[in-house]
Symmetry: C2
């Protein structure tokens, strides 16, 4: 069995979270049936940037989790005005990142989720991307944190994977499924979800 | 201003809900800024098929909404084992459908969401699709409810739009954005979300 930990912040983008729930959910029906995801946060409830409120499975402020059980950490991005940058600077996320980095496990930062890795000091000298538009408002920050900015939609630097925005999240979730299983299993899940004819 | 009503059931698929939140959310930042969506349900909390719990904005069991304000009804699909078919047979959804059908407003049923329209008697003699795999388990039900089954991913029958599964939800949300705005606005939102280079 493999496990994915998803750290969700206030102000998250729903479309950057949902593929990691549903693609691994479908995998547990039609695919290898051996990968589970867990949604953690530092609140009892989270508000997405827009009108969605969710209840995370684990509030890290109240409950600890056994990090050794997890194979990958996923950080969906979000918008600052809805509280995203407060949550990603929490000591709880720093602890998660410290574990996944020191264990060379997979870390995926989507859109501004990549800045969550950077701000905590874990992208130094590492090629990475983030949201590419809005006059480089986010992209220019990568350099400030010592990362090597790459103007591409998905950047894979060994175990650290970053991406540019919501349009990448489905591809990234399938890529993670491939890393944890194999090509044949990915094709099976894609076919059953209608992504492949 | 235009408004979209999203009826979410227990057992919903997150990926069939999220594009309708985020694409219209982005539209309110970078696009025409005049379309709002509202999530309604018949519970205080909803469990997705997999590990996500959400709090809908309106529980129709406790609070009524002014249907005349809304321009479109969206029904994400879901899995029966998580309660989907109980919710779609509620009198509350039937009332919503009765209003949207009698006013010739847009209705979108994604995946098994299309069966929500059929089960309530509103797809008689109407071309429609639903989930196409699993030995026609769902597709064969369309005929039982008097619909005209069409084996395609998206079927547009005037104001009633049905689709085959999670892979269609992003396209459908952009299609709805086009119906409520125009092509130029859709291109702008797609570009800012990274769906168009």
């Amino acid at each position: 069995m493999k496990k994915i930990l998803i750290f969700v912040s206030n102000g998250f983008e729903t479309l950057e979270l949902s593929p990691f729930i549903d693609i691994f959910g479908w995998n547990n029906i039609v695919g290898n049936k051996k990968i589970f995801s867990k949604i953690c946060a530092i609140h009892d409830q989270l508000n997405a940037t827009w009108n969605l409120t969710i209840i995370p499975e684990v509030n890290l402020k109240k409950e600890s989790i056994t990090l050794e059980e997890y194979d990958a950490l996923v950080i969906p991005g979000g918008f600052g005005k809805a509280g995203f940058f407060n949550d990603i600077q929490s000591s709880e996320l720093k602890s998660l990142l410290t574990h996944f980095i020191s264990s060379n496990k997979i870390i995926i930062g989507i859109c501004t989720g990549s800045l969550a890795i950077a701000i905590n000091g874990f992208l130094e000298n590492i090629p990475a991307t983030t949201y590419l538009l809005d006059n480089d408002r986010y992209f220019s920050q990568l350099k400030n944190y010592g990362a090597v900015p790459i103007r591409e939609d998905i950047v894979i630097s060994n175990n650290i994977i970053t991406s540019s925005g919501p349009s990448t999240s489905i591809d990234l979730a399938f890529y993670l499924l491939k890393l944890l299983t194999d090509d044949e299993n990915v094709l099976l899940v894609k076919k059953n979800m209608g992504f492949l004819k």
